[in-house]
Symmetry: C2
DNA sequence: CCTCCTTGTCGAAACGTTTCGACACATGGT
DNA sequence: ACCATGTGTCGAAACGTTTCGACAAGGAGG
């Protein structure tokens, strides 16, 4: 019952060549005659040869797996699921696996994961798990800039938050807002820091604090503060918080967009499910995941030297929550 | 700079024993003197030895990775994220990695993942990717029963949907509902099939169809049909649909719970964020993920024979959406 | 003293790749 | 004829584990 696995030796025997030739023919390295190469490929296919990842890893000293660490927030699931999907697909298309890295602070066990590279989504200053992860001897790419001064990732992929925030504020202003409240997290992430920088440059825009890993009460409290300050437009930055705000506003009998305008930063399916649909900036998380994998592959397998920076585009999705009339 | 890795030979030399002894001491197999065992452990720790996963895999013929496939739905993210987290943690605590399996239908590439076992979340009859996955030569555990007759997973972990549905319906009835509309998916999943079975046994309970992978319009349409049939309580089965329904009801000016009662089947953070908070049955997805990994580990590493069935508990979380007065 | 069993240790083979260096042969220039 | 160069192929070593079978030492029982 447990059939012996088909090895490269079987292919070699069946094709009448050496294992060296098989290896070179299949990988495209070395100098093999085109005719031989073709024959070997056909034979391999025929007898169902799949190279052993273990043997290859052992020889190459690479595990063939990339790790993905996503922080343990209470919200923002949609974003991370899509990010993970994009990353997993990109990894597989490069012949690598994407391994989920749990929020674990035991170095021993994390080392046992044997990954060749690590993707960290939304690194936050002070995350203890992240601190441990940084001590792993593998290259790391962050999605969004890591503000920790001790961090030296080999790559960063991030959206143009400066531009996107500006576009969002312009849009809300154009929609008739005269006093805009931006509910933003602090500067423990580059994201929050950049948003705040844009806001600081503008008149009639005030920033209200909302924790990065917020509880619903945090969000509603921030909304109340903004309303008390006579804001007529609310821009919610953290993923998922716009929904909370909408519920809260509707609970208080405040109409959107008639009484106040509402916009979100991070887009996602739930914003299109909500009524009214909520205006948001779409930063495609799948693309982001793919880019992160690409950067890591460049470093790990292609041996790229030096830092890699990838920018993913942001698109403003204008919806009913900022449309009056 | 690229330091040579610390191997078992280094440990052997440093401890003055053979590699055999090191291997046996660290793994606890074989018959090693307790004193030697202790010394080897200390030395290994000291010089920072981490066994090579690749070498071990090669020798053992196991990759040390479990795969997780989650269907590509438009909703239900929270559930799957928690499931994945639980599974990843459980896997790591067994010294294995959890690999994300993308929704890909290329057998070649999927084989290249080299996983020892596969967890499939919510198998749906007719899923083409699932069909391909079944042809992989690895044991498979499903979360929820696979209704496909050609499916023969080695394990199933599922909640007591029969009991949970009954409890939910009882609760809603006790809260004052006289005509309960249950919005449930069809019987392409065991989940839907079981819910329908419970409903069929009851008076004053009608079932309305809602696709498993629903778009928001599908959900709102089903809600409208239920309301047109004079229902005074809505029980939404698919994950995430209760939120859509709540938005829709509020948009139509219908108050919850005053005008109609609302309850969800799958619980999640967003149901506690909503206003009013929505009653739901909590089936802890983390526990579910852990159980799935446990079953797979039993089969793959401990060589368990025969089918494994694990039941995870369900708890009714009563909230404001079904509380009148 | 010889045999038998137990206990602790070890040498060496095997797992399946990739790749270095060598070899054989052909080609073309001197 | 000889050498230099280029092309296609291959043997064998190496990657780091686990484990089978063997061996030595020590006691128990005859």
């Amino acid at each position: 019952m447990p059939l012996r696995r088909v090895t490269i030796h079987d292919v070699a025997r069946a094709a009448g060549v050496s294992t060296t030739t098989v290896s070179e023919a299949l990988s495209g390295r070395g100098r093999t005659a085109e005719e031989t190469r073709e024959r070997v490929r056909r034979v391999a296919e025929e007898i169902g040869y799949v190279a052993s990842a273990a043997a290859r890893s052992l020889r190459l000293g690479r595990s063939g797996a990339l790790g993905l660490y996503v922080p343990d927030r209470t919200v923002g699931f949609e974003y991370y699921v899509q990010l993970a999907r994009g990353a997993a697909e990109a990894a597989l298309s490069h012949g690598m696996a994407l391994t989920l890295v749990p929020a674990w602070d035991n170095v021993e066990q994390l080392r046992a994961l044997h990954i060749d590279g690590l993707i960290v989504a939304d690194p936050a200053v002070g995350d203890p798990v992240l601190h441990v992860l940084r001590s792993l001897p593998v290259p790391m790419v962050t999605v969004e800039i890591d503000l920790d001064p001790s961090a030296t990732p080999v790559g960063v992929v991030h959206a143009d938050h400066l531009g996107a925030t500006a576009a969002l504020l312009d849009h809300v202003a154009a929609a008739g807002a005269t006093s805009i409240a931006v509910l933003a997290p602090g500067d423990e992430t580059a994201f929050g820091e950049q948003v705040r920088r844009v806001c600081a440059d503008r008149d009639r825009v005030r920033v209200f604090d909302i924790p990065l890993a917020y509880r619903p009460e945090d969000a509603t409290a921030a909304v109340d503060r903004a309303l008390a300050a006579d804001s007529d437009a609310l821009v919610l930055i953290p993923d998922g918080s716009a929904i909370v705000a909408l519920h809260h506003l509707q609970g208080r009998g405040i109409r959107v967009p008639d009484d106040v305008l509402l916009a979100s930063y991070v887009d996602g399916p739930s914003l299109q499910i909500a009524r009214p649909r909520i205006t948001a900036v779409d930063i495609d998380p799948r693309l982001t995941g793919e880019a992160a994998v690409q950067a890591l592959v460049d470093v790990v397998v292609s041996g790229h030297k030096g830092a890699i920076e990838t920018r993913v585009p942001a698109v403003l999705n204008e919806r009913e929550s900022t449309r009056r009339g």
